[in-house]
Symmetry: C2
Subunit: 389 residues, 2 copies
């Protein structure tokens, strides 16, 4: 199959990660329109107003894009997903639809992006063996970094806070909480001094399942619509203090950033490569291909006990870390729990994130015909703590 | 203040736990009406159709009760909660409104109850020291049952699965999952053989909070609307195998039963006493007054890191267990991890729940003037496992 080519009038720069092979979906608004946010598709540096285009060209399908969130489209299932994608390619790859859609292309720079879907439940996995092994070595050095007994038998996961999933660009306030300073008997209450990021991949569930029925790994593509980038911000000192015996809670629940664009699975056939930057300086390049558990295995595990899926469920991979130091997807690994701060190109160093630091996670994949498939970005700036007292 | 007295025409039997001092809210439908479910208020053995009554008497307020879920009313805040409650008392305590509302009283026996609110995030605390200590002794007998280091410093909690919260009466399928048989090296995959209940109290958040801002314990009544009963069904063998290091996941996520009626905080001023029955036989009477952490402390902890609240958030107390054996709120404690099965009055015994067992959790509180305040019931029957393979 030849590489998909957008028509010249669409104006996609050569090699742009949002070419016709990507076509990610998001929710946007513009200052000049006072209506509720609309569904958009990123094409190069523009956004196609899919809500308006569908209302104009296919009004029978307008209900899928009329609620300011991707959820109705996510729930419509893989037949609808394929049809809409095919129509987008038709509209954008010739001149037939130029008159119908050209005026609905909006400069991305003029748009405000919103959370692309209403998050139902958020589950965070722990699917990188490199990450799990690093963390085990850091916290349990006496055990030689042994994984938990179940780790290699089933994907490990916990539920996170769906209500604090935020769209890329939203600032993240440094959280307060209890932690126990090294050597102290008891805890102190204050702003975290060990703020971290975690570069992850998120999977967005489209089609719900029935309570009491498991979903087989082989049916992954029927239920999961696409992926987004995730930064699972973590306060390591809060997390260490609270995590026994019920797992992470306040150390994770203050904010989880997702990219504004959800890339359909249809665009993804090959390995995804990440870059993580602090204040513009690359600090890691984690390769997704090194993950131990597959997303289909995660889905099967999540539902093996009969737990139902809902449209908008988000499950994330856990930190993506490769075998090399420069491939670690979190600061706790990069700085080895703060003991070996990393040097940034601006001459500063980081054991943990500072106030005003900007963390930018980006990723691209290789398309079926060699195209660059962009996964957008998960960006967040740390803003100073605010006392809850 | 004199005890609230319903008018005779309302027909509330003397001493009924759903008297005028209770007035709990739920969502119901009846076979003869094909409209979407309506908001109801339990009065004795009847349900007042609040959706219809409000449309008739106070149409300006109809939007609070028009969506088949309590969420719009929950979001309306404590002023609206107090006003609606005062109006209900007025309507039901004299003859003035008899003509306007008597035909909107529906026999509860003819109604189907639905999940009363759309659950946003579900958080489960661990606020009973008796329960935590029992569980610690069972799982870590060598440590003398010592609590985790943080337990007495802050309320321990984890996020559960909001999408599998089900209304009282919904059957619960015995879940499959991995567990490690005693003495075995590795896990097996099969139906849980250690199915348990946990009797808990749930707190229903009405008013949302801002991301990045903590909610003080003193503001509990502004944010939390009321309470429901919770059965946090647990598969102890799945839970034991998976819980290190990220906490419970599949061992808890297959179903969480809540009572159909949400009792407003306005009705509750005194201790809540529970009864747990298996197949009709009382197995435990846990007293809520023995809990270590208060719900206001739980709320403050939940938001101390800036995590936002949403309308419909549910946080539960964790298992309610008193100091006596007959006050333990779970089978793992009652049977001491299966080693001392409990005897039921029908001559059978239980280490864990059997297929077809019915678990019924009820509770009442004492009202300000000595009335019995009913908290309804959380009921569920275990149905046999279904292989996911």
């Amino acid at each position: 199959m030849a590489q998909l080519q957008a028509a010249d009038w669409v104006g996609i720069p050569a090699g742009h990660p949002f070419g016709l092979a990507t076509l990610p979906y998001g929710v946007f608004s513009t200052a000049d329109q006072q209506t509720q946010p609309r569904i958009g598709v990123a094409v190069g540096d523009k956004i196609l107003d899919l809500t308006a285009a569908t209302a104009r060209l296919l009004p029978g399908r307008a209900h899928l894009f009329g609620e300011g969130t991707l959820n109705p489209f996510l729930a419509a299932g893989d037949g609808a997903w394929a049809q809409v994608r095919a129509d987008l390619v038709t509209w954008l790859s010739g001149d037939t639809y130029r008159v119908a859609v050209e005026d609905l292309l909006v400069p991305a720079a003029s748009a405000t992006m919103h959370l692309p879907f209403a998050v139902a439940d958020y589950v965070d996995f722990y699917a990188s063996q490199h990450h799990a092994s690093n963390v085990s070595q850091i916290f349990r050095p006496d055990g030689g970094g042994a994984l938990a007994p179940s780790w290699l038998h089933q994907p490990t996961a916990y539920h996170g806070r769906a209500g604090t999933v935020i769209v890329s660009g939203t600032p993240v306030r440094r959280p307060y909480g209890q932690s126990r300073p090294e050597g102290a008997d008891g805890p102190e209450f204050g702003p975290t001094s060990r703020l971290d990021f975690e570069a992850e991949l998120g999977f967005v569930v489209g089609v719900p399942s029935q309570l009491g029925e498991a979903v087989a790994a082989s049916r992954f593509h029927e239920y999961v619509f696409g992926v987004c980038l995730v930064n699972d911000w973590s306060a390591r000192d809060l997390q260490a203090w609270e995590t026994t015996p019920l797992g992470p809670f306040l150390g994770k629940s203050f904010g989880t950033t997702v990219s504004a664009w959800v890339v359909p699975l249809a665009a993804l056939q090959h390995a995804i490569d990440y870059e993580v930057r602090i204040n513009g300086h690359v600090v890691s390049r984690p390769p997704y291909a090194t993950m131990h558990w597959s997303p289909a295995q995660m889905l099967a595990h999540l539902t093996a006990n009969g737990a139902a899926l809902r449209t908008g469920d988000l499950f994330a991979s856990g930190t993506v870390s490769g075998p090399e130091r420069g491939q670690r997807g979190s600061l706790i690994e990069l700085s080895w729990n703060g003991s070996s701060p990393i040097e940034l190109a601006d001459g500063t160093s980081r054991a943990w994130l500072h106030d005003n630091d900007e963390v930018l996670i980006t990723a691209t994949a290789r398309g079926a015909d060699g195209e660059r498939i962009g996964l957008g970005e998960a960006h967040g700036q740390v803003i100073p703590a605010q006392s809850p007292l």
